[in-house]
Amino acid sequence: MSTLCEALAAIVGPEYVSDRPEELYIYSMDPGTMPACLPDAVVLPDTTEQVCRIMELANQRKVPVVPLGAGLVLSGLSRPLRGGIVVDMKRMNRVIEVNPMSRYALVEAGTSQGMLQAYLKKHHPQLKHSCPDAPPAATVAGNVSIHGSGHLSLVGGFHSDMLNGLEVVLPTGKLVRIGSCSASPYWFARAPLPDLAGLFLGWAGTTGIITRLAIKLYPNHRFNDVDIFVCEDPELMPDVMYRLSGTQIGEDMTAWMSPKPDWARGFLHCNISYGAGSKEELIWKRNLIRASVRPIIDRKTGGFMPLPKAMKHPFLEVPGRTLSRFADVRKGGGFEYVGAIMPVDLFADAYRIGLEIAADLRVSYSLGARVIGANHCMMFFFAYAFNRADPQDVKQAQNALARTNQRVIAIGAIPWKAEAPAQKEIIGRMDPGAFDLIQAIRKVLDPQGIMNPGNWEIN
């Protein structure tokens, strides 16, 4: 029998397989704090057919498989916890189709956020997709499949809500089309068929490898602005967010609370971005936004920062670069965050948890929250920077993350893209019936137990 690498090379060609120490090293970890887990091989497929054959091979040999986008999860979900094959999907990065009238784009799973954005700007400038605040190298599929959020989440919810359909390779190697594309040439919705897409959203790559996906697009307005509301009382924030989101004007609403620069410390900012087809419409929208929080402004307990247009560019940049720069706060190239999904009502509690943990453990932190839908919930993030060359610093960040996970779960939040330890915490609180169902479905889809094993398990 051929070695694993030889067998993989027969599928993708020898130049796109590696079991060399260099690749194994780099693919064993992501830029977060989770420790390295070495794969046995790394493979770079270029077609869905190749992915199917890789999966069949892995099944035959009972070798774990871990799908990988850009590896920017930061919570280590793309580390091969039990070894096996890391499938780096980024060669599959073609934009296959854009349907402007129905506003959707069909892309290969390795397509990056940046390339999709560039493609749309060039070919369909009147359309845009919801881009997360991850670096542009992050993949669309990776972010959708972990319930990511971004610059249109105020309008469209989680990025998983913006999914119209999937082409997925099941753990057995079988290829499936899910959504309207299953019974129609068009990828316009998941309705009205039985919705199988949920089997691949939030499952941390344990149910299959997405090879194609169609996502909703939205109008890309010519005129754009961002307003930044400032207050000092975290108890006020839910009301601020409720009012602002109630205008149904904004595209994105993200709060940020950072100890640096010094003028930001102790203040709560809420950015609301919006766009319009004309300047008049932009001003009209701005006025609606103003009016929604007028009672708070009149009490002088909050107001919009008087930022001239020229100084708003960093806040209008999509994706924003500030989060990447946060990695250098401790001159150590690292940060990781807990993104706790929770109701907006819990804002003040979450904020206090963040401040307490940061003060207690003396970690460099940044806090913020992105509102999902019409204030339906928020992704409250607790980001901690660390110096990866200092094991003590890494440990401290890990402690902060672990404690944050515990505390937010305790108040009723659920961390997204939870790393293995946090998964266990969540499972501990989960409805046993729901967890049993998860396990049962995994057994059906993945009888050999090869898909990203070690995640969402009890033992």
Binding site: R290, K300, A310
Partner: protein
């Protein structure tokens, strides 16, 4: 030190109440003006405290130099009436606080005081500023901006230290007793605001435009007329130093530009609007900016000339979209020295 030099009796007896009757943002006939003025004199609430655009113009309008604007600001603070919401007021105070990072240094005349605009130090270049020293930073920030925030207390607290930093950190040991204020706000602070509040200023101030006019004279044989029509955006702080108004025309004559005749110039100059946005009055800011720019367009201006960097940052994009080139006065002079 610190008490406003103001005689209430002068206001009591003033027959014209120009401060309020001439206001561009509030409408008062003489009777209403007197009524509101009395409330202010008695330290009571007046709608003026809410509606004042803080454009400084009444400081210029008052025939008695009795500081009607400063009276308003003092009363706003006394009554806890914040024109700008509290969080923003507090945040700005932190943003603009002295960092204590200044390094005392020797300077030589002309000393150009760039206030807290480090991004504009590139303006000090070429023949126009030959041999100039420059001072800049948070530790010499003039702090006049707190007049827009109803916070004279911050001025009282910080300004003496700024003056001390300039004098003892740069000027005294260099044997220099004079600075050129790049920004009108500094000039107004040191020549009018400080004395009004009884704060000593041990150095003299030269207005940037006086300096520029002098340099243009010295370089007269190298000056090439620009031959363009320009609008001038008079900043609010120039209301504190109306005696410097003529320098604008003096410079324009020397560099061969025509100052267009327009409504919102000189006595009728309009606020750039940024402060109005800080006051959360966007509709008013929109209106003021639109009128101002439409006025420039109607008058056929090719350039809008600024003294104040804040005015420029605020209006540059809108001015440019209207087909007019925004430019600082010093950069316009640079154009005349190709």
């Amino acid at each position: 030190m610190g008490t406003l030099n103001h005689d209430p009796l002068v206001c009591e007896r003033c027959p014209t109440c120009d401060c309020l009757t001439g206001c561009q943002y509030m409408r008062f006939d003489l009777e209403a003006a007197r009524r509101e003025k009395q409330k202010i004199l008695r330290g009571e609430h007046s709608q003026v405290l809410n509606d004042c655009a803080t454009c400084y113009a009444c400081e210029e309008r008052c025939p008695n130099a009795n500081h009607p604007f400063y009276q308003i600001v003092e009363l706003q603070e006394k009554r806890g009436l914040l024109p700008v919401p509290a969080p923003i007021t507090r945040q700005q105070q932190i943003m603009m606080q002295p960092r204590g990072t200044m390094v005392p240094a020797r300077v030589a005349k002309p000393v150009i005081d760039m206030c807290y605009f480090p991004m504009l130090t590139g303006c000090v270049r070429g023949r126009l500023f030959e041999g100039a020293s420059m001072i800049v930073g948070s530790d010499i920030f003039c702090n006049i901006m707190w007049l827009h925030f109803g916070k004279t207390s911050v001025i009282r607290e910080r300004l003496p230290r700024m003056i001390d930093n300039i004098w003892n950190g740069y000027l005294k040991d260099s044997g220099v007793d004079e600075i050129v204020c790049f920004h009108d706000e500094c000039y107004g602070t040191f020549t009018q605001l400080a004395p009004a509040f009884g704060i000593d200023v041990p150095f003299r101030c030269v207005h940037l435009f006086e300096y520029l006019a002098g340099r243009l004279d010295a370089l007269a044989d190298q000056v090439k007329p620009i031959n363009a029509k320009v609008a001038y955006q008079r900043p609010c702080s120039n209301r504190l130093a109306p005696g410097t108004r003529h320098w604008v025309d003096d410079i324009f004559t020397r560099i061969g530009v025509e100052r267009v005749k327009r409504t919102y110039d000189g006595d009728n100059a309009l606020c750039c609007g940024q402060v109005l946005r800080a006051h959360q009055k966007d509709d008013l800011a929109d209106d003021v900016q639109a009128r101002n720019i439409a006025d420039m367009v109607r008058a056929g201006a090719a350039y809008c000339v600024f003294n104040c960097p804040a005015c420029m940052i605020t209006l540059a994009e809108a001015v440019a979209e209207a087909g007019i080139t925004p430019i600082l006065m010093s950069d316009l002079c640079q154009m005349a020295l190709p």
